[in-house]
């Protein structure tokens, strides 16, 4: 649906008003997915209203490895120094590459990249000086014979395909080994090329998650043993399953709640989970957009590309600190006054006495307007233009990334002419959005929140003046007033939507399904778990991994 229709809903007094996103089922029949939702309320509960007996489960599907997953898998299969081919950029849907992976295919240029990558990786590992040749302990001085090769392909193939090979796959790979060994008169070459075939196979590049009928409940599907290993590993470690996980899958452990929880716990406790969850947060907070920053040198003499990198590092460091080093309460991200700066960034924040070029921990003054992730330059600078700030972009970020709201796209007939008057303050400048009802229907959802951040300029430096006038950062969040970011942060910290949005994002990320948050019961249950466990992200991750939404799928 597009914004023009939103005006009609506004007149009918529907929920397309106000800023806080209601969680009530709206009766909207859209089922999420990629097209813009029916209106800006978050959950369109689909066919079943709240209180339905069986939860709405995500659909099963097929997911292409994201570039990070591809790199991590190659590294875990072949060793840390395996050459890494640049492959196509990921498709991001609903903020996450793991969701986009459900729509990504392998077009021709991608197939070529994967072929080149597979061949280079195989050569590295099994070529003349290959590091992995030692895996073929059965190989004699003249190289592996057929039995040896066959055994190796079966064992190694299980790691690459993340499940045991079927007979036809074994035969197919053995044929490659035979043909190439004969052609090149070298059985090692046969191994190398067979491995190359494995590493560009759809069985490696795609994670098929098709499931099987659930014997306990035929109305739904359950993910198969090895599919669960795959899901768990890519969710918690963003890489291919390790041997322990494959063994658990073999034993059927992952099909039982206790077996699944045990593995989920093991993975969550590992430092690898910390890295993977950090990557999840980087996506949730859209940190990649910092790489796109371009700022006017005259207006912002402090800005450099190196500073942009520091801004990103600051947020990553803070996220890691709050979630894993401090008491782990997610909401501290909203209002903490701890942060990490170096000399260059401290100059932007006007924090005195920072001389280090590397990040050091610091505490902002107790009453500072700047606090939390919304007070960080990474967010403030990336959601701004080359000179001016952008309350719209900043407000959109809060609505979409923190509240899990949806803003419809502008209609084709909307005139997006931007007036160029240097005498207007940003707040006044935005009046055009507010006065025109066609614009207002969507902009009123974003601009007021963004205005709360007007105390921070285009690179995040604090200011009290804009175009010669004192900044007025006041507004309200669903009727509750704030004077500036401090007030807004206090409201967001208490907001059940922010909490629920973490759950929805993590669920979506874990299942790869954009509609995974369609079931209010699942969200409610997981949010309760989150809230009653000090809002620890790792605990939530474990709970998600054990949830029905992670183990079962709807029958198509």
């Amino acid at each position: 649906m597009q914004c023009k229709q939103c005006v009609v809903l506004l007149l009918l007094g529907s929920a397309c008003s106000g800023v806080v996103i209601s969680q009530e089922a709206t009766g909207d029949s859209s089922t999420g997915g990629k097209s813009a939702a029916g209106n800006t309320t978050v959950i369109a509960a689909g066919g079943g209203a709240s209180g339905a007996a069986s939860p709405v489960l995500p659909a099963a599907g097929v997911f292409r490895l994201t570039s990070e997953q591809y790199r991590n898998s190659l590294r875990d299969l072949l060793g840390d120094s395996a050459p890494l081919q640049t492959i196509e950029r990921d498709i991001v849907v609903k903020g996450f590459a793991s969701v986009g992976a459900g729509t990504a295919g392998v077009a021709e240029s991608a197939a070529e990249s994967f072929e080149t990558g597979a061949s280079a990786a195989a050569a590295f590992a099994f070529g003349t000086k290959g590091s992995k040749r030692s895996l073929l302990t059965c190989a004699g001085t003249s190289g592996p014979d057929e039995t040896c090769a066959k055994g190796f392909l079966k064992t190694f193939g299980r790691k690459v395909f993340r499940r045991p090979l079927v007979a036809t796959e074994e035969a197919s790979l053995l044929k490659v080994w035979k043909d190439v060994s004969a052609l090149e008169k070298d059985p090692w070459r046969g191994v190398e090329i067979a491995v190359s075939a494995m590493l560009q196979s759809p069985n490696f590049l795609f994670r098929a998650q098709e499931g099987e009928p659930d014997p306990a409940n035929p109305s739904r599907k359950r993910y198969k043993s090895f599919e669960m290993a795959d899901r768990l590993s890519f969710f918690l470690w963003n890489t291919t399953p390790d041997e322990a996980l494959l063994a658990a899958a073999e034993a059927g452990d992952l099909l039982t709640p206790s077996g699944l929880q045990a593995q989920a716990k093991r993975l969550s406790a590992s430092p690898r989970a910390r890295v993977a969850l950090g990557a999840f947060m980087a996506e949730k907070l859209d940190l990649a957009s910092i790489d796109l920053i371009s700022k006017d040198a005259k207006t912002f003499p402090l800005y450099t590309p190196a500073l942009a990198a520091t801004m990103k590092a600051e947020t990553q460091r803070l996220v890691d600190y709050v979630l894993f080093e401090n008491n782990g309460d997610f909401m501290d991200l909203i209002d903490t006054r701890t942060t990490f700066v170096n000399k260059a960034l401290a100059a932007v924040y006007k924090i005195p006495n920072i001389t280090s070029d590397t990040l050091v921990q610091t505490t902002l003054p107790a009453d500072s307007v700047r606090l939390g992730i919304l007070g960080q330059a990474s967010f403030l600078a990336s959601k701004a233009h080359i000179v001016k700030t952008s309350p719209t972009l900043r407000g959109k970020f809060v609505v979409e990334r923190l509240l899990c709201g949806e803003i419809p796209a502008p209609d084709a007939s909307v005139d997006t002419l931007i007036p160029n008057d240097p005498n207007l303050s940003m707040r006044d400048f935005l009046e055009a959005h507010r006065k025109n009802p066609v614009c207002a229907s969507c902009h009123k959802l974003m601009d007021p929140i963004g205005v709360a951040l007007e105390n921070f300029d285009g690179i995040g430096a604090f200011r009290t003046q804009d175009a010669g006038r004192t900044v007025d950062a006041s507004g309200d969040l669903d009727g509750q007033p704030y004077k500036d970011l401090r007030g807004l942060a206090a409201l967001l910290r208490k907001s059940p939507e922010v909490s629920a949005c973490v759950v929805k994002d993590l669920l979506r990320y874990a299942t790869g399904d954009a509609s995974a948050e369609q079931d209010p019961l699942t969200i409610e249950k997981l949010t309760k778990t989150f809230e009653s466990n000090g809002r620890q992200l790792a605990v939530l991750a474990s709970a998600v991994a054990s949830s029905d939404a992670f183990r079962f799928a709807s029958n198509p």
Binding site: A36, V106, V176, Q200, F206, A288, A412, N420
Partner: protein, 467 residues
Amino acid sequence: MNRNNGFSRRTILRGFLQGSAIQLALPPLEEMLNFHGDAMADGTAIPRKFGVWYFGNGVRAERWTPANVGANWTVTDELAPVVNAAPGLKDYVSVISGMDAKGDGYVHAGPASAALTGTGLNHSVGDNGTPQGPSIDVLLAGLIGGNTPFGGVHSGLYNFLANGSVYHAISHKGPDAPNYPELDARKIYNRLFGAGSPGEKIGGMAPVPVANNTIALRRSALDAVLSDCNALKSNVSAASRQRIEQHCESIRSIEKRLVDVPATVMAACIKPMSPTNITDAKAGNALYGSSAAFKEVNQTMSQLLAHAMICDLTRVFTHCYTNPAAHWNYDANLVGGGVPGSFHELTHREGGDQPNVHKAVVQQMGHLGDTLKIFKDTPLGAGNLLDHMSMMVTSDCSRGQNHDPKDMPFLVIGKAGGALKGNMHFRGTGESITKATLTAARAAAPGLASFGEGNQRVTDVVTSLMT
């Protein structure tokens, strides 16, 4: 057989910038052509080519659109660099104005999708959009590609960094199925003429490499991959099957190119030398920092595209000179006053009648002129490559300042084997821009009945442009 021209027609034409020896290939051998030299010996016409040359951020309509309509349009400031690049070029260039991008209102992205695919966009949080259907070049590859080894060749100088495949690819097979432009001319060369490529065995100045097993080894691995693919296809649900099938198709396309190139293609041209003028600094988004190398890289890629077409390695191309909403940085000395920075930002920020935006558009159109000169200087049949091509040029808005989707800039270039008149200006009255796309496309593929969906669907073309 027309042999009087003898050696003059077989003269090797040497390349351009800095002594780099990109050779233009020879025209198809006289023996291949009929008496008049304008068709193949067996009576079939020289296959038509279709191309898309794309640039981002629009133009200044008041300095772009010709004042008169009909034949022999008056040259404007922003179109002068296009037609002045070579004598007689104006005969090949027609202008369509007054048509609008309809469909999705998402700025830059919506109109990009409109002109290229005639569909709206799918987009969500973090995703600026992907078109809902295939792009015109993909449709044409299916219609006119024949047995060429490459359905399409996709080149480009510059790409955007934010998410959303509509920003990254001019060509799409469908939603989330972009054919990304190759930004490294060396890789374009390798794919067309390098080791193991279909063009490798075309005779050329470089020695033909000694036969090795590379192709056999590749084929061996790819056969196994394809068999995995076919098996997986039948093991996944219907919803996922198409994507797996796309993978299988990609493997098959690669394998198709591993067979020996037919003798007719081998005889028709000479393999160019590798573009040694291209360094890492002139490949990929290294060009982001400065536009200085744009001219050279654009020319190199245009040469490669020309070779690819006259060697019949492809009949379709897309050239992402710059992508929708491109943030390419123009040189400080281009626009004067030492104001470097993103062209995109300039279109929004510059006041008045935007003299610097105009200068930047003029520079870009000069590069389009370079491409056209190269195509026109490439002999093909009795004439040149442009005689047998229909190429569309368009952008993601008219006025960049406010992302105006109305009165979109659009050029139809080439004679398309006699289907296009050239030197015409047609001014529409707010029709969907897809009509312009269909016009360019049908000139190369007469069988294309319609283009676009919903309120962008069209079946008629601009007849005044056609012969």
